[in-house]
C-alpha cells in the first residue's frame, strides 16, 4: 500500500471496511516467520498502540524465570515475547495489564509481578519479594 489509509478518500478505501492483515499474498508458511520479520499491512491491529490502556504493568525478573512458557501460553494478547523457548520480555505496546501472566507464573518468588504503570522497572526489581515459606502459592 503506497498511500496511508489516513489520507484515503471514500473512493480509495476497501469496500465494506475489510482490513487486510499483510502486504501482498501470503504464499509462504507464516508460522516460520517471526513477528518482527512479517510484512504486516498498515491496517493490521499490530500497528495499533494500546499500551496506554494499562493502569498496572507486569515487570519481568529473569533471575527467577524457569522458562516454563506458562505466561506465553496464557497471555490473551500474545504480548509475551519468547524466542527458542526462552522468555525475553513483554510487548508493552500491546499488553493491557490484565495480570494473567503473573497469576499463572509458578516460580517462588514469581518472575512476573504487577507494578503501578509509573513505577520505574529498575526500581521495581529492587522491591522484589523474598522466597515465600508458604507452600502451594
Amino acid at each position: 500500500m503506497s498511500k496511508s489509509i489516513k489520507d484515503m478518500g471514500w473512493d480509495e478505501l476497501v469496500q465494506g471496511a475489510a482490513l487486510f492483515s499483510f502486504e501482498g499474498d501470503v504464499d509462504y508458511e507464516m508460522s516460520q516467520v517471526q513477528p518482527e520479520d512479517r510484512n504486516y499491512a498498515e491496517t493490521n491491529s499490530r500497528n495499533a498502540y494500546v499500551g496506554d490502556w494499562r493502569v498496572e504493568k507486569p515487570v519481568f525478573n529473569k533471575d527467577f524465570c524457569i522458562d516454563c512458557q506458562f505466561c506465553w501460553i496464557f497471555c490473551p494478547d500474545t504480548s509475551i515475547i519468547a524466542r527458542d523457548k526462552k522468555m525475553i520480555g513483554v510487548d508493552m505496546d500491546h499488553c493491557k495489564g490484565c495480570g494473567i501472566c503473573v497469576e499463572v507464573c509458578p516460580t517462588n518468588p514469581k518472575s512476573l509481578l504487577m507494578f503501578n504503570e509509573n513505577t520505574d522497572n529498575e526500581e521495581a526489581l529492587t522491591q522484589w519479594p523474598e522466597k515465600s515459606e508458604e507452600k502451594g502459592e
Binding site: Q15, G16, A18, F20, D25, V26, T43
Partner: protein, 408 residues
C-alpha cells in the same frame, strides 16, 4: 449448477413462495440459513425439501432466530459464498440490526421477503410495514407484483447483488398471501439456463482466501466511518446501471421486460396512482375500465424502491394533474413514505400536480377494484379543480369515522 437436475415444465403452477424457492434452487446457493415465519415459511420449507431430496449441493442451516439467520448469512457471505434467506414481518424486524451489517460489509446476500404487517396487533397478512422498516438499511429493495415476477427478479437479484460494481444485498419483496400463496402459471427456465444466467459466484475479499488474511466487520469511528458510508451510498446509487443491464439481459433471454419504474396507461394519463406490490396489478384493471369511460388514468410503481428512482418518477409524472400516493404501512405520525418521496421527486421539477396520500390495506385489508375506482374518481375531481378534495392524507377501507390529516 447443482449436480442433480430437477425436471420442471416450461409452465409450472407455482405460488410466489415456490417461485422464490425454485429460483433459490436454480441459483446454486452455497449457504441458505433461515428461520421460517408466516407467510414466507414455504420458501424455506420447499428449499429444505429440495435439499432433503438431493437437489441442493450447498448447505442448508437451521438457526435459532432470524437474527441468527441473517448473522449466519453475513458469516457465510464474508467467508466467500453465495448466500440467501427468507423472512417476513417480525422475523424481518429481528434481522434489522444485521441487515445494516450486511449492507455495510458489502455482502451480496439475497433475501426473499414476503411482506406482512408488523405487530401489534399481531397479524400474519400482507402490508408493507416490514418493507418500509428496511428501507434505510442500505439494501437494494425490489417490489414484485406477482409470482412470475418473484421468480424472475429473484434470479436477477443474485446477478445484481454480486456484480463487482455493486456488492450489496438485495431484498426481493412480495405481498404476503396475495402473491406468496396465490398459485399462477409461471414461465420457467430450465436449471442450466437459469444457473448460467445467474453465473458463477465471484468471491471478493473472502475470509476463506488464506493467501490474503482479512478482517470483516471492523470498527471505525469518526476517522473512517463517514467515508465508508459514503462509499456504500455511492455503490447503491450507481447500481442503477447494473440493474438496467441485468434487466436487459433477462429480457434478451426470456422476452420479459422489467424497468426500475413500472407504469401502465401513463402515456396520456391526467391522473395517476403510485403504489407498490400486487395493488399495481389490480389498478391495471381499473385503469382499463376508466379508459373505456374516457378517463385518462394511469398506475405507476417504483419497481426498485431503493435506490429510489427519483428522476424517472418525476419524469413520468410531469403531465399529470392529480396524483394519489398509496402507502400500505401505518405512517406513525406523518405522511406515508411514498407520498414524501414523490413530493420530493417533483419539488425540483416544473410539475405541480395535486398530491394526496392514501393509507390503505393495513394488515391484509383487501384493496379492491371498487376502492381503487373511488380513489381515481376523487383524482378526477382534483384534476378538474386543481385543488385537493379534502386533506392531504386520508385512510381508505377502514371502518369508522373518516380519518383526514394535514390541510393543504
Amino acid at each position: 449448477m447443482n449436480s442433480k437436475i430437477m425436471d420442471i415444465k416450461k409452465i409450472e403452477v407455482w405460488d410466489g413462495n415456490m417461485a422464490a424457492s425454485q429460483a433459490f434452487r436454480q441459483a446454486d446457493i452455497d449457504v441458505v440459513a433461515a428461520y421460517p415465519i408466516t407467510p414466507s415459511t414455504p420458501v424455506v420449507e420447499n428449499y429444505a425439501t429440495f435439499e432433503a431430496n438431493g437437489y441442493i449441493d450447498g448447505e442448508f442451516v437451521m438457526v435459532e432466530s432470524e437474527h441468527a439467520a441473517m448473522s449466519a448469512c453475513v458469516g457465510a457471505a464474508a467467508a466467500g459464498g453465495r448466500v440467501a434467506t427468507a423472512t417476513s414481518s417480525q422475523g424481518f424486524a429481528l434481522m434489522v440490526e444485521v441487515l445494516y451489517q450486511a449492507a455495510g460489509m458489502r455482502l451480496p446476500i439475497v433475501l426473499a421477503q414476503v411482506n406482512r404487517a408488523l405487530a401489534a396487533p399481531l397479524n400474519v397478512n400482507g402490508d408493507h410495514s416490514d418493507m418500509y422498516l428496511g428501507r434505510d438499511s442500505g439494501w437494494i429493495n425490489v417490489s414484485t407484483f406477482s409470482p412470475q415476477e418473484v421468480y424472475d427478479l429473484t434470479l436477477c437479484a443474485f446477478k445484481i447483488a454480486e456484480h463487482l460494481d455493486v456488492r450489496l444485498p438485495v431484498n426481493i419483496n412480495q405481498d404476503g398471501f396475495m402473491s406468496s400463496h396465490t398459485a399462477q402459471n409461471i414461465r420457467t427456465l430450465d436449471d442450466k439456463t437459469a444457473c448460467d444466467f445467474v453465473g458463477p459466484y465471484k468471491a471478493v475479499n473472502a475470509m476463506l482466501d488464506f493467501s490474503k488474511p482479512v478482517t470483516h466487520g471492523v470498527q471505525t469511528e469518526e476517522d473512517w466511518h463517514f467515508e465508508h458510508k459514503a462509499k456504500q451510498h455511492n455503490a447503491i446509487m450507481r447500481s442503477v446501471k447494473v440493474i438496467d443491464a441485468v434487466f436487459a439481459e433477462f429480457k434478451a433471454l426470456t422476452g420479459r421486460e422489467y424497468k426500475r419504474v413500472e407504469s401502465y396507461g401513463m402515456e396520456d394519463a391526467e391522473i395517476a396512482i403510485v403504489a407498490f406490490g400486487t395493488t399495481y396489478e389490480t389498478a391495471k384493471i381499473v385503469v382499463d375500465n376508466l379508459k373505456k369511460e374516457g378517463i385518462n388514468a394511469g398506475i405507476i410503481a417504483p419497481r426498485i424502491f431503493r435506490p429510489f428512482p427519483l428522476e424517472e418518477l418525476a419524469a413520468q409524472l410531469q403531465n399529470v394533474k392529480a396524483v394519489a400516493c398509496l402507502d400500505r404501512s401505518a405512517p406513525g405520525g406523518t405522511v406515508g413514505a411514498l407520498y414524501n418521496e414523490i413530493a420530493g421527486a417533483l419539488f425540483n421539477s416544473p410539475a405541480r400536480p395535486v398530491l394526496s396520500n392514501v393509507i390503505y390495506g393495513l394488515g391484509g385489508r383487501d384493496m379492491t377494484v371498487s376502492v381503487l375506482t373511488g380513489i381515481y374518481k376523487d383524482l378526477v375531481k382534483e384534476a378538474a379543480t386543481g385543488k385537493l378534495n379534502g386533506t392531504i392524507q386520508r385512510f381508505v377501507g377502514v371502518r369508522g369515522p373518516e380519518l383526514n390529516y394535514y390541510n393543504a
